[in-house]
Amino acid sequence: MEKLQEFSRIKFRINDVVYEGIVMPRTLYEDEDHFTIKLNNGYNIGVEKGKIEILEVEPPKVSSEQPYEKSFESTGPKILILGTGGTISSKVDYRTGAVKPAFTASQIVDMVPELKNLASISVKTIMNELSENMQPLNWTLMAREVYNAFKEGYEGIVIAHGTDTMHYSASALSFAIENPAGPVVFVGSQRSSDRPSSDAATNLLGAVIFAAKSNSPGVYVAMHASINDDLIAIHKGVKVRKNHTSRRDAFKSINAKPFAYVDVKKLEIKFSEKKTEAKGPMNLYEKFSERAALLKFYPGISDKLLSSFFNKEFFDAVIVEGTGLGHVSRKAFPYIKDYIEKGGFVGMTSQCIWGSVRLTVYETGRDLLSMGVVSLEDMLSEVALVKSMWAIGNGLDLKAIMPKNLRGEINERREVL
């Protein structure tokens, strides 16, 4: 069967009826034996190649891609939106039905008209990665862009990011940029922006309002506070986690209240914590090392796994997600002991997610302490991992820096919430 160029307009016959349509691209998971044809009524159908008789073919018109714009003329605080990929920065082409990255200032303002009078917005796409593909190198790139943007005079930065690993990236930038000159707000969407019900617009609105008006330097994540489209929660970048696979309120502050809420109807910020202020000059520590690992302990964990994790050849730090208050089976003791003796760092967090590690309550905990395992208090395991990658990358002393509260990653007290 002949191969038709994608997006060709064709006239074809099925039985005795003549139809018109456009030949659509097939995905990787679809076979080569069928055509996907978009009929004139907008519907796509899949038909075996042999079943249709093609009467006329009109090759596709070359579409004129519009160049990305740099900025949108408006008054207000200078805000930079960085596009990194993910559902929030893609758009559907209604003619073809394909999802394309689309991230221009005018498109954003078109999607969120409320932004027009809020801030002077510039947009820059710095990468196009789904968040599961983000690597420490991407964090470095993001951190550098943010640092430079503040140096250039931007007052707030919004980073549009895929949601899966957004809390890792937020954590990474929290450590990489000491005393950021203004708010750095990560924002994503759980429902793709090509649907009218997308949370992308309201999340973005909340993020920009916070970046422009909060006067609270720091790294944050802005996402829906509930399943209603009214409040956007602003979480601290080192205290947040994705806790649901699909709900728009998947991100929750752990062991803390959200730092603030943005009411996207009234365009107002409500702080639940004291505003932050810059405590010194802005510094960039942009390196991350992959010589750190995260180990989730479970009953039946194999010796093979333990021996490959607690191996100084591979890793300088192992963050353990222990059970309960921070425990692992005594089976793991020899590996841990040996690893620490060889100079490895073992930091303890809890797989309970909520609450703090406390190694002094049970014997197991005390044994671990005596081996040199460091309690990381209520630091989230993902944050601890990123922090250790950052500490190694920048040649910092893990034993000294890991238990020290640098960016608000450890709460000394946990409120009754």
Partner: protein
């Protein structure tokens, strides 16, 4: 005249199309949540300006979600599950039955819908069959498409700045069957819909009950364009709606001709814009009607050449003025005032004169006024202007809805090519040749089905047909199966004589109450005669079975009690020296007047005879 049908019919699946909820489950709790839908300007395209306006302004959409009847999928908080295999099977069966070309792969699409009736902002829909046919009165009617799609949420209320929907119905699998435009009379159209509807119902693959089958009808007269009428739920409406539309569209052609006669063309509209006329009314607040209508702003629009045409009416409720008022209602206005009706409002000659001066009205011109919010008034009058421009050509391609009495009212402009794009959350589904061969059903003849039903249940054909056409088929079968001693003739009479007419008057029948009524009969607690009386009483007074039985003082008499009454009445008659030949009649009459409905007449007869025989022996 051409008439096309889009028939929507709910598949009787146990689950929804894209999740595992059963809409018939009992809810134990409900929650509400609030959403907004957004569409970027470029995507709004041909969505009507009122909806676009509401969306831009931030219309709050409130959803009511029942814990067992909807889940995270309907709340648009979880990706769709794999499509219901049963519904796919039904779609293939019907496509086969209607001789369609069945696609080899199902590609679900998202069709943009921004009125809030879909939490996602789109409806999921896919073509299963193309180019089918259905034989009606010996002619082949082409079925253009058969689509499998999800039903929308049910509108509960519309208020200032919000709309409220219930999620129970959202996601129920529907088949949409679209015919080609047919050259048929209104009577034939009704017969066609009835015939296809019956054929579909007889497959047993679809839900029964009010609202489970809905038809949209496209009507176009020669020289006009396609008008889509939504929400026709009853067959009786079809004929009326088409007759009404034919007359209404012809009337619009007449109006167009009159405008042409008056020399009006698009050019006359070029410089026309909404004009603020607040001052005109502000200066006359002493006039009671002005005080009543005028709040903050008044805006008016000159309508060139339209004098006398707003109220021009060839069939009741078909005035152009009514359409304009409906357009304004979309923007939240109570209505409009147009020049043909302004005298009704007693604003006085001064106001009229000032308005005419301000708008530059000459001989044949009319005008339209709205009172209220400035921004809305301007947008609304701009839409009125567009509508009036279209009146130059005649009927307008628009979406209307059918009223109970069979007229149609303006709903929104007819969307152009639907905004559709692929539902990327659902992988393509293959329809194999094996599936196409396996999922086959044949058309059942209605006449045969009626005959079969009639002989199986020993009821006459008229009754059988009425029951098969109604929603009471399941009720009927249920009773027959569970209460074997209920005579089918009694059951059929109850349905045909009482329940169907009552339901046709638009009232809701509580099936369980009538099931209980028949259960009481089955247990011997009430007599056959009483069943019909109690049913009538329940419906007329709007009471449940328990209250009806209490209030009607119906309790079955025991034979012991009956004998006591018979003895009393015989003694009474003897004392009155009633002639022996008339004794039976007298006693029987008097006893029956006391016990009617409480015990079967047959038993009374036997007992009276027995008692009189004993008397003779004595």
């Amino acid at each position: 005249m051409k008439v096309g049908f889009e028939i929507h019919i709910q598949i009787n699946s146990k689950r929804k199309l894209f999740c595992n909820c059963n809409p018939k489950s009992d809810e134990s709790s409900q929650i509400e949540f609030r959403r907004r839908l957004r569409v970027s300007t470029s995507e709004l395209g041909e969505i009507d300006p009122a909806a676009a306006f509401e969306i831009k302004k931030g219309l709050d959409i409130i959803y009511v979600s029942g814990d067992k009847t909807s889940c995270l999928v309907e709340a648009d908080e979880e990706p769709p599950h794999e499509p219901d295999p049963y519904s796919v099977e039904v779609a293939i069966k019907i496509s086969n039955m209607l001789n369609s070309f069945i696609v080899d792969e199902i590609h679900f699409m998202r069709k943009i819908v921004v009125d809030g009736s879909n939490t996602s902002g789109f409806q999921r829909t896919a073509i299963i069959g193309l180019n089918g046919s259905y034989t009606f009165r010996g002619k082949n009617v082409r079925i253009q498409t058969i689509c499998l799609e999800e039903d929308a949420a049910r509108l509960l209320e519309k208020g200032e700045g919000y709309v409220k929907y219930e999620l129970k119905r959202l996601g129920i699998p529907l088949l949409e069957i679209t015919t080609e435009p047919l050259e048929i009379s209104p009577e034939e159209a009704k017969a066609f819909a009835e015939s296809l509807g019956r054929t579909l119902k007889l497959t047993g693959l679809f839900a029964r009950g009010l609202g489970t089958i809905r038809q949209d009808i496209n009507v176009s007269v020669e020289g006009g364009c396609v008008v889509e009428v939504k929400g026709v739920q009853k067959l009786e409406q079809i004929q009326k709606v088409i007759e009404f539309e034919e007359k209404r569209q012809k009337m619009l052609l007449e109006i167009a001709a009159k405008l042409k006669e008056r020399g009006i063309s698009e050019e006359n509209f070029v410089s026309i814009e909404p004009v603020e006329v607040s001052d005109v009314f502000k200066n006359h607040l002493n006039i009671p009607s002005v005080k009543k209508f005028f709040k903050d702003y008044a805006f008016a629009l000159k309508a060139p050449g339209l004098k006398g045409l707003f109220s021009y009416e060839t069939v009741p409720d078909s005035r152009l003025g009514l359409d304009l008022a409906d357009i304004c209602r979309l923007f939240g206005f109570k209505g409009i005032i147009h020049s043909d009706e302004i005298s009704k409002y007693d604003f006085g000659q001064d106001i009229l004169k000032e308005l005419e001066d301000k708008l530059g009205i000459s001989k044949n011109d009319g005008f339209v006024i709205v009172f209220g919010d400035k921004e809305k008034a301007v947008l609304c009058l701009q839409m009125v202007k567009e509508r009036l421009k279209m009146a130059l050509k005649g009927p307008v391609a628009e979406t209307r809805y059918a009223t109970e009495k069979g007229t149609t009212r303006y709903l929104r402009p007819r969307p152009g090519a639907s905004r559709m794009y692929p539902e990327t959350d659902i992988p393509t589904i293959k329809i194999t040749q094996e599936m196409k061969d396996k999922y086959r059903i044949e058309i059942k003849s209605w006449e045969k089905a009626v005959e079969e039903f009639s002989s199986r249940h020993s009821i006459n054909k008229e009754m059988a047909e009425q029951i098969l056409d109604s929603e009471f088929v399941d009720f009927f079968e249920n009773v027959v199966e569970n209460y074997k001693n209920v005579p089918t003739t009694l059951l059929a009479s109850l349905i045909v004589q009482i329940l169907i007419p009552y339901q046709n008057s638009g009232k809701v029948i509580e099936y369980d109450e009538f099931l209980n009524l028949l259960a009481e009969f089955s247990k011997g607690n009430i007599s056959k005669e009483a069943v019909m009386d109690v049913a009538r009483y329940m419906l007329e007074k709007g009471v449940n079975l328990e209250s009806a039985l209490k209030e009607m003082n119906i309790k079955k008499l025991s034979v012991e009690e009956l004998r006591k009454i018979i003895k009393e009445k015989i003694d009474e008659a003897l004392q009155e020296n009633v002639e022996p030949s008339k004794l039976y009649g007298t006693v029987m009459g008097r006893v029956m007047s006391l016990v009617r409905g409480k015990i079967e007449g047959k038993i009374v007869n036997e007992e009276v005879k027995k008692a009189l025989e004993n008397l003779n022996k004595a």
